[in-house]
């Protein structure tokens, strides 16, 4: 009986291993943002005035509502909005970027550009985005 179970388990392991090797570059559980660059709403709120909140959503969504004090910085108007953000930025501040929800990608893209292009440090992506902020602040 044990032998049969082991054989079945071994047989199931073979295609799994093959798939893991073949799709090694796009493993679904691999988060595009390292955990150290993510921040929860509670953590970000604890930073208080030491954090700059950046709204990466489109203009119309930002106009509808946003985290109090947040600055709009989206890729539709990057060149225009970036200088406005940099005017408010200072080295000791932590930057918290958010978009609509956990599944949106705009906050990751904006955070990536702030890190790579502007070479800013302490740039974080908000877990769960605006939806999570709303949920925890209701």
């Amino acid at each position: 009986m044990v032998r049969q179970v082991l054989i079945v388990a071994a047989l199931a392991f073979v295609p799994g291993l093959g798939q893991a090797i073949y799709f090694r570059d796009k493993v679904s559980w691999q988060s595009p943002v390292p955990a150290s660059e993510m921040v929860t709403v509670a953590q970000a709120r604890a930073w208080g005035g030491n954090a700059i909140w950046v709204d990466a959503r489109p203009d119309n969504e930002f106009a509808r509502d946003h985290v109090p004090g947040a600055l709009s910085l989206n890729e539709d108007r990057w060149n225009e909005l970036l200088p406005q953000f940099l005017a408010a930025w200072s080295q000791e501040k932590k930057v918290v970027v958010y978009c609509s929800s956990q599944s949106c990608n705009a906050s990751r893209e904006v955070a990536r550009r702030l890190r790579n292009e502007a070479q800013l440090k302490n740039v974080f992506v908000l877990e769960g985005g605006w939806e999570e902020w709303l949920r925890t602040n209701r």
């Binding site: 539709d76 940099l86 200072s90």
Partner: protein
């Protein structure tokens, strides 16, 4: 008994043939817009190859920058159509992957994810796009490196500063690479300048920012 087996087999065959099936020409499209393009549009074509109509329940995009439209709400058997996905490039750079999730009432293929990949040409790579000095820091020049893409030869680069408080000097370093030395007159007060970077052949303008910040800098 034979009648039962026949009836069972027949019902299976009927169920198999009387099905709705949306067949997609392709579920993934790669687009290569030019530097002047404002949008990248992908056409995902389909045909209902089944014998029942297929009804679209929802068409959702992964990003506010992408809009998707289906031509019709219901697709009769044999009919063709397409979902048009329009990606607004804005001021995005690099390779952008956006998805469109299509939900239908076809129980076997209820959800289909369509992928639109847009490879946006990056004529110039500017690193960093932001240089800063802390107030009171020595006003030494800081360097911005500009690399031209392989298929975008650049002979001359023109850099202008929006403020006379900052000077920008351009130097060609070879292999399509330039360095821009940015230097403030002094660092006594918090001021900023927008640097516009242009090549001789392209109307596109690139930007960098120079700023004196309030806090002392450790760059």
């Amino acid at each position: 008994m034979k009648t039962h087996i026949f009836a069972f087999t027949l019902s299976i065959i009927i169920c198999m043939t009387a099905r709705a099936e949306l067949k997609w020409d392709q579920t993934s499209i790669e687009l290569h817009p030019t530097a002047a393009d404002k949008q990248a549009i992908g056409h995902f074509k389909y045909q209902n190859s089944g014998s029942k109509p297929v009804r679209f329940k929802s068409v959702r995009t992964s990003c506010g920058c992408t809009a998707a439209q289906s031509q019709k709400e219901e697709v009769p058997p044999g009919e063709k159509g397409e979902i048009t996905a329009t990606f607004n490039i804005g001021e995005r750079t690099g390779t952008q992957v956006k998805t469109v999730t299509v939900e239908t009432d076809d129980p076997e293929h209820a959800t289909t994810v369509l992928t639109l990949k847009a490879v946006i040409p990056q004529q110039l790579e500017i690193t960093p796009t932001f240089v800063f000095w802390g107030q009171g820091e020595a006003p030494k020049p800081k360097t911005i490196v500009v690399r031209a893409a392989k298929d975008f030869p650049v002979k001359h680069l023109r850099v202008t500063s929006s403020s006379p408080d900052f000077q920008a000097k351009v130097e060609e370093t070879g292999n399509g690479q330039f360095k821009i030395d940015v230097q403030p007159q002094d660092t006594k007060r918090p001021i900023a300048s927008t640097l516009t970077i242009q090549t001789e052949d392209s109307p596109k303008i690139f930007y960098a920012t120079a700023r004196i910040t309030n806090a002392p800098a450790i760059q």
